[in-house]
């Protein structure tokens, strides 16, 4: 799935990183707890979260993630946007809640461990 497919499926608004929308991603994870992302995630390219602070961007950077989707219409601040730009991470936001956003991507073929359903 391309990042632009995620944008369409979630009816999301791209905050930054438009130039990377054509990148392919094969897996995703959803969590508000960055400790858990750092502990359990492996090779997941997309992070869906309702948490909004700079540590979300740094966690994604640490995990080599390429896209962060903020759920429940949460908006990243300027500092977060700058950090994301600096790390080449796409930021987008959707009105959907975390459960629904993850489910929508999952049924459309983006499953957690990167394998196709």
């Amino acid at each position: 799935m391309k990042i632009q497919d995620i944008q369409q499926l979630l009816d999301a608004q791209v905050v930054c990183g438009e130039e990377s929308l054509g990148k392919h991603v094969y897996s995703a994870c959803g969590s508000d707890m960055m400790s858990d992302v750092l502990a359990y995630v492996k090779d997941q390219a997309v992070l869906l979260t309702g948490l909004v602070n700079s540590q979300v961007i740094r966690t994604a950077e640490m995990m080599d993630m390429v896209c962060i989707v903020f759920v429940r219409s949460k908006s990243p601040n300027e500092e977060m946007i700058e950090l994301a730009k600096d790390s080449g991470i796409v930021l987008m936001k959707t009105e959907k809640r975390l459960y629904e956003a993850c489910g929508t991507l999952y049924v459309n073929g983006l499953i957690g461990n990167g394998k196709k359903i």
Partner: protein, 142 residues
């Protein structure tokens, strides 16, 4: 063996927002040096967790990354409250972090276990009331 490169950082303990800046910087330096992606990830995650710990628990500290031919050494030192029971602190899920830290996405008791998981060696030297020194090694496969 003598080190090839050293990166030294002062970790500011007053602002949670800036926590992790040093780890991001190290990651970029290691990328620039062309180290294997998996090694870079291991080093930067371990350091990031350590940096977060220093900010949450110890009002900051200093971080040194020493790059050798065959390994990367991460040394984190603070003058915080120290760890009373290291075995307990190493247990997944055990945390003394306050609820406000959990609301920021951390404090799940995964920091130290994660640091151990992502490194080949980890040593903790801690004295209550004096501070904590964590030394971690990530081997670079030959």
């Amino acid at each position: 063996m003598s080190e090839i490169l050293n990166f030294h950082y002062e970790v500011d303990g007053t602002d949670f927002t800036s926590a992790g800046q040093s780890s991001v910087s190290v990651k970029k330096e290691l990328r620039r040096l062309g180290l294997p992606a998996e090694i870079i990830r291991q080093v930067s995650i371990a350091m990031y967790e350590g940096e977060i710990n220093m900010v949450i628990h110890a009002h900051g500290g200093v971080a040194d990354i020493n790059l050798y031919e065959d390994k990367i050494e991460i040394i984190l030192e603070d003058h915080g409250p120290g760890i009373k029971d290291i075995d307990l602190a190493m247990q997944e899920g055990y945390s003394t972090a306050k609820e406000n830290i959990r609301s920021l996405g951390f404090g799940a008791g995964m920091g130290l276990p994660n640091m151990k998981k992502y490194t080949d060696e980890m040593y903790i030297d801690s004295v209550v009331g004096v501070g904590t020194k964590v030394r971690m090694i990530v081997n670079i496969p030959g």
